[in-house]
Every structure is written in structure tokens, then in C-alpha cells.
């Protein structure tokens, strides 16, 4: 205990020589009890001497950094070209413009009515699909419930993920069915057999 006090005291002595007002600022003494005189440092700072930096140079540095940040932020806002929207210049030529088609008022009415009819049709389809999916899910949930009631072991086996099923691949329907034993014709090719 006394050695600590002596150490702290010596530090205070050194600092007081360097900067008379500094020593007081470095060590503020707090007395925890009147019986024991303890020196508890409540603030600390660098013991090395600080260089006198010109505030103007510092300001200039900060300004430069702020400008850099601004420039980067602006770049972020710039929108990139979407490659898919790029149209070949040859397609934008004047000669390619189609002669405009005048659509009569009745035709326009007919087209608008057809669009509405289509929207109605697609909505009905969607509602039917949703109902079918919901019925399928309900049916499966009921089956699993009944299975669990019968046997916990079988239920746990049923609920396992089938790793062979995923990824699932299926070939979709075509306009016409496949021709049995179809012999496709040769396509265009470059014959590279070496001539002797």
C-alpha cells in the first residue's frame, strides 16, 4: 500500500515539474475514508507531449475527406444501364418504322371489353387454383393427423423429407404429342473430316 502511494506520489512530482497546472488535472484525489489517505486517479491522459497542430491544416484535411465522401455518395445514386433494355441501333432506324395502323372506335371498344373479359377469366382461374391447393393441403393435414393418432412412429417416418424427390424435374406439355420412333433430320453442320 505504501509503495503504491510512494509511486503515485513520485509520478505527481515528475508531472508537476513539467507542467505545473497539469499535475493537478492529471490526478484528482478522492478520499474513500478519513482513516486512509488514498490517491485514486480518476482521469488519465497521454504522458507523451502533444505536437502543436495547426488547426487550419486539420480543417483542410477534414474538408478533403468530406468532399471524397460526397463524391462517392453521388456515384451510388447514379443508375446503371440495364443491359436487357439495350436495343440494337439498326432496329432504331427510320426506315424500320411500321406504317401506323388506324384503329376505329368500335375496334378500340371491342379490345377494351376483351381485356376486361380476360381479367375476369384469369381471376376465376386463380380463385379455382387457390381453392384446389387449399383442399389438397387440408386433405394432407387430415391424413397426417389421423396417422399420428394411429402410430407416432409411422407419423415420424411419413414426415421425413425425401432427399431423392428434390430437385424435381418434369418435362411440360407440348402443342402436339411426341411421334413414336421419330427420325429427326440432320441439321446444318460443317464437315471437318480431313481430305486425303
Amino acid at each position: 500500500m505504501t509503495s503504491v502511494l510512494r509511486y503515485l506520489g513520485s509520478q505527481a512530482a515528475v508531472l508537476s515539474q513539467l507542467c505545473p497546472q497539469g499535475a493537478r488535472s492529471l490526478f484528482t484525489f478522492s478520499r474513500t475514508s478519513p482513516l486512509v489517505n488514498t490517491l485514486v486517479p480518476t482521469r488519465a491522459s497521454h504522458l507523451r507531449k502533444r505536437k502543436r497542430v495547426d488547426p487550419k491544416i486539420e480543417q483542410a484535411r477534414e474538408a478533403r475527406l468530406k468532399k471524397k465522401i460526397k463524391r462517392l455518395m453521388k456515384k451510388d445514386k447514379e443508375m446503371l444501364e440495364i443491359e436487357d433494355f439495350y436495343v440494337m441501333p439498326s432496329l432504331m432506324e427510320q426506315i424500320r418504322e411500321r406504317p401506323p395502323v388506324r384503329v376505329s372506335a368500335e375496334e378500340q371498344e371491342r379490345r377494351a371489353a376483351l381485356e376486361k373479359e380476360w381479367a375476369r377469366f384469369r381471376r376465376q382461374q386463380h380463385v379455382a387454383e387457390e381453392a384446389a391447393i387449399s383442399a389438397m393441403v387440408t386433405s394432407q393435414q387430415r391424413a397426417l393427423q389421423e396417422l399420428r393418432a394411429e402410430s407416432e412412429e409411422l407419423f415420424q417416418q411419413a414426415v421425413q423429407v425425401d432427399p431423392l424427390l428434390i430437385p424435381y424435374q418434369s418435362v411440360g406439355p407440348t402443342e402436339t404429342p411426341p411421334i413414336s420412333a421419330y427420325d429427326p433430320p440432320d441439321g446444318k453442320y460443317v464437315d471437318l473430316t480431313p481430305m486425303e
Binding site: Q140, Q157, V161, P173, T176
Partner: protein, 305 residues
Amino acid sequence: MAAPLVRNAFLMSTNRLAKPALIAASHAHKVPGLLQNAVAAQMRCCVCGIKTGPAESEENSSQAEQSPWTLMSAVCMVRRPLIMAELSDVERRYKAHLEQLHLETSVLSDHELQLIEEKVKLKQRRSRGYDDDDEDGSLLLAADKEDLAADKFQEFQPADRLTEADMKNDRSSQLRKLGVPLYLLVKQKLGDKAVWVMPQGSRQEGETLRQTAERILLTCCGTHLRTTFYGNAPCGFYKYKYPRTMRSENNVGAKVFFFKAELTGGDIECDSEGVEEFAWVTPEEMKEYLPQKYLDSVLPFATCL
């Protein structure tokens, strides 16, 4: 089962910390009066949180032995559509409408430009009287190209959308009605009667229900069918009681679990033992074969979508 009465959590924790050994050895806490009679059920002690009563697995296995229902698996085999369904009237009209719009808002293609050029040139030649010094004449006119393409298109004969089976209305063929999904029904002997059902059979010891389904398919339809089962879980459920003559104490009826599978190739080889005949039918046609209650269980997953 009554929810465990959670006392002061602090009390519970101190109890556990204080005497874990005692609790493990013999459960000393007295169960409150109401629950004392419920010995068979698994209860949680409201003081220390330990589970009392017979273990879960024991209970289940005893239940399985005593269950009066025969567990059966059935296979809902679907033949997916091979061709696009017939377009409805709205769809056909909208398709034409879209094609017209796309044409009107497009630019002229190279072929169309060539056609226009040649028209103009022909006019000029006509006016000049068909001078035969045609310097810029290309080898192949656009009109000729169109004719050639049309001829080539005629050479290819696609298969008919309406097959032989459609003409004969042969329900045993899987190539009938190619635009809609078809489901397999078999006339199976269950008990002493032959009934139209989806192929079903009872579960044997040590099998999962899906394995049962796969085995049933092999026995009913032969080994040449190639299928993909849609996972391990059943998609439907149907319960029926045996006729009174066949019923007994531990054999009341059967619980059928349906498994959906897709046909990827091959033909059915009918085993005359269990299966008399089979049919590939649409959900609407199923009404002619299946009783209403069975249909109610099957239609949710055997849809026309």
C-alpha cells in the same frame, strides 16, 4: 390433460438445485387430489416439473397392438398431360388479340423490308417494260423464301392431338385425353367382392406406409411401370368398416392412406390374381366408378389441375 400448474419459478428452481438425486430416485411429491386418478395419462408434477406415468413409447406400442383398424396404403397414380389443353373461347380470342397488338407495336423485320424493296423494284421494272439488266437482283426473292419455308413446314407431319384411344374411348389406355391428367383405378378383390378403387393393400410388419404403397403398385400393376412418388407423407385418408359378417373385436375395418405418385413411363401388366381390370380416368369420370364417400376423400387431391 390438465396443464401443469406453474408455481413460483424461484421455488421450482431451488427445489431442482437442492435435491436432484431424491427426485430421480423416487418421485416424492404428492399429486393434487383431482389428478390422482389419472394414472394412465402422462402428467407433469406441478412442484418439480418431472413427468410421471407410463412412458410414451410403451403407450403407443400397446395401442398399435390393440388397434382394431387395419392400416392400408393406396396409390393415387397420375399420368400428367402430354399436350396443352384445348384453349377455351376467351383464350383463343385473347391470343389473337395479343398477336395483333404485338404486330402493330413492332418494327419491320429484315424479311419485311426486303419484301417492300422488291415490290418497289417490280413496279419500276414494270414501268420500264421489263428490261432484263437486273444488276442488283438477289438470288432469292423474299417471296421465294416464304414459299420454300411453307413447303418445308408441310413436310413435317406432327402427331395427332386426338389419339386412337380417344376415337375408341378405350379407358384402359393411358394415351387417351392427352390434355388432362388421368388417374389410375383398378378393380380389386377386397374380401369377397371386386370393387373399383385406387390400388390398395395392407401394411406388413416393419414397413413404412410409403414402402407399402410401392409394394402394392408392383403387385397390382407389374414391374414395367416407372413412377415418382411425391414424398413420404400421405395426401389423403379414408376409413371404412368391414361388413358385419367380417367384423370382429380386433378387426373392425381399415384406414387407408393415399400416396400420390406420377407416371414417368412404362405400361401396366395386369396381374389377374388381385386385379381384374384397370382404367385411366379423369376426375369427372371417376363418379361412374367410385362410391360417393370414397370420392369425397379422393377428389381433393385427384384434381383436374
